[in-house]
């Protein structure tokens, strides 16, 4: 077996819940444990299931997974030494303050009380919630509570953080603040985050995985993913009656119901001129992760239903 240190490796990881739901099938991942890895997918795609298996909270049904060479299934104790997790929908305990939460968590990780207190004070500053350190969490805003939870795991000695949908439900400003924080943290941590906000993955992630219906459809850097789509420019047309015949590329129906043309930059230019001449409303840009995601997921759904790809 090759040297596994510094990598997160999944081989054919599968999960069938006792209800019979197949949540993951044959997931294969091999990425360096550096920077930020974002797992994106719709609700129910299997993100949480994969995170919980890797974080030693849930048994897999098949396959193996290694983090830095430690076997997640067979040797969870070893893995637990260097990971820390903020589970999806986890909450700051209503009857604690951020400082108390951090101190208790550090004690669970084996810190002495004095060390835990010092470390908590430090990290509250890093995360910039010092002034809320001693406010009971029932009086804190959603954004502050989420930051306090991230501060909690960050305070530990863990080098690897699993954050399951850390920004879901936050307002745009809190979200941007959290993004800044994560960008800072990734310098000395590996962060495995899940999200269904594609903009989040686009901004933060060094590596992106796309999961749909329990299958990992694609994995790579944003540029690598973009290379999967043949056409890297897109036009969105806001008039359903307008007749357009691209010479290259494909027409898809976007999430919003509008037609989109995925094509080359050159062809996009040509069509744009034509549309301007006709007075049709449209917009154009390089394909975003959202479009790549939509394209890849849609393709997978069509393969599943054996529908002909008409694009």
């Amino acid at each position: 077996m090759q040297e596994q240190t510094g990598r997160l490796v999944c081989r054919d990881v599968g999960k069938v819940y006792s209800t019979g739901t197949v949540a993951l099938s044959k997931v294969n991942i091999d990425i360096p444990t550096k920077g930020i890895f974002a797992l994106i997918g719709r609700n129910g795609a299997g993100k949480t299931t994969l995170v919980r298996i890797l974080a030693t909270e849930l048994m897999s049904s098949s396959g193996t997974a290694l983090i830095n060479g430690a076997d997640v299934i067979k040797d969870p104790k070893k893995v637990r030494e260097f990971i820390a997790v903020v589970p999806q929908e986890s909450r700051l305990l209503m009857w604690t303050t951020p400082r108390q939460m951090i101190v208790a968590y550090l004690l669970y990780r084996g810190f002495s009380y004095v060390n835990a207190k010092n470390r908590a004070a430090e990290v509250l500053k890093t995360v910039n919630i010092g002034k809320y350190a001693d406010v009971q969490s029932q009086h804190l805003s959603g954004g502050t509570k989420r930051k306090a939870l991230i501060a909690t795991v960050l305070a530990s000695e863990a080098s690897m953080l699993f954050l399951d949908e850390p920004t879901t439900g936050l307002d745009p400003i809190s979200r941007a603040e959290l993004w800044n924080l994560l960008n800072k943290l990734k310098k000395d941590h590996f962060i495995f985050l899940t999200t269904h906000y594609l903009e989040e993955a686009e901004r933060l992630a060094d590596q992106i995985g796309i999961i749909e219906n329990g299958k990992l459809l694609n994995i790579g850097t944003l540029d690598e993913l973009r290379a999967h789509v043949k056409y890297d420019f897109s036009l969105t047309i806001f008039d359903n009656k307008a007749r357009i015949k691209p010479r290259a590329g494909r027409i898809v129906t976007g999430l919003d119901g509008n037609r989109q043309i995925l094509t080359t930059q050159k062809e996009a230019n040509r069509i744009a001129k034509e549309l301007i001449r006709k007075g049709t409303r449209f917009s154009t840009s390089p394909v975003s992760l959202e479009q790549i995601f939509y394209f890849i997921v849609k393709r997978s759904i069509n393969e599943e239903t054996e529908e002909k790809d008409e694009w």
């Binding site: 006792s18 919980r52 974080a55 030693t56 909270e57 849930l58 048994m59 969870p76 104790k77 637990r80 030494e81 990971i83 820390a84 997790v85 903020v86 589970p87 999806q88 929908e89 986890s90 909450r91 305990l93 009857w95 604690t96 303050t97 108390q100 101190v103 208790a104 968590y105 004690l107 669970y108 990780r109 084996g110 810190f111 002495s112 009380y113 835990a116 009971q136 909690t152 795991v153 530990s156 000695e157 699993f162």
Partner: protein, 248 residues
């Protein structure tokens, strides 16, 4: 990190489940203090003081049972509503340290109550040292029984509503049906058999006999011990076997 302190890990549970909540919600302390007294007072008035001694002993046993049962709701809340348990599962703390710490937190939470009851016991119930030792042993065994049962139920429950139902049922079985605050002979005969389903009945009978409130044959006394200890060992073994730290 080398040499993680188990003491720290136990203390963490006590902080999370007893000290922080009492510090931040002082009303909890009042509840812990007064909870088990309600029945004691009722029994005392209804029996015109005749059953005061029995009822004090009963309140002791009940405090042990209640503090053990409180664990069920607390664990289920931390696991299901707060997703807190998952944070700890994926940390270096083991299941047993987590549970031991939580059990200790329940004892601490009921500490004011124990102190008050101890004072009453010393004032109103003349116990030989052997009898006192017997009562304490019975209480510890009841605590171990209800802690194990609580833990078992908390791993099964997936929602707080379900865990309320568990608590209700179990507390009927362990604290309403058994004759804890009065001798079992106060219960009409066919119903006595139902009371014998509950291990608390045996615990109460041993405590009452040790204090001289009731007289039972040495054989019955031995049988009570065998059932109580047997049921508790069985419950601990089931709990250990069913412990679900990492979800299957």
């Amino acid at each position: 990190m080398k040499g993680r302190s188990i003491g720290s890990q136990l203390f963490a549970s006590v902080l999370i489940n007893a000290i922080y909540p009492m510090q931040n919600f002082p009303i909890m302390l009042v509840n812990s203090l007064l909870g088990p007294f309600a029945f004691l007072i009722v029994i005392n008035f209804v029996s015109h003081g005749a059953l005061l001694g029995v009822a004090i002993e009963g309140a002791f046993v009940m405090t042990m049972v209640s503090s053990g049962l409180a664990l069920q709701g607390d664990l289920a809340h931390l696991k299901n509503d707060m997703k807190f348990q998952d944070m700890i599962v994926s940390s270096p703390t083991s299941a047993f340290i987590y549970i031991f710490g939580m059990a200790a937190s329940e004892l601490l939470y009921f500490l004011p109550n124990f102190i008050l009851l101890s004072i009453l016991l010393i004032l109103f119930v003349p116990l030989t040292s052997l009898a006192a030792f017997t009562v304490v042993t019975v209480m510890v065994i009841m605590f171990i029984f209800s802690i194990s049962l609580s833990f078992l139920l908390s791993t099964i429950s997936v929602d707080v509503i379900q865990s309320w139902a568990f608590t209700g049922l179990v507390s009927t079985l362990l604290s309403t049906i058994p004759p804890v605050y009065y001798p079992i002979t106060y219960i009409p005969l066919p119903w006595q058999y139902i009371a014998y389903i509950s291990p608390t009945t045996y615990a109460a009978q041993i405590a009452q006999a040790a204090a001289g409130f009731i007289t039972i044959t040495p054989l019955n006394f031995a049988l009570d011990w065998i059932v109580l200890v047997g049921a508790s060992i069985a419950m601990v073994l089931i709990a250990i076997k069913k412990v679900r730290w990492r979800e299957p």
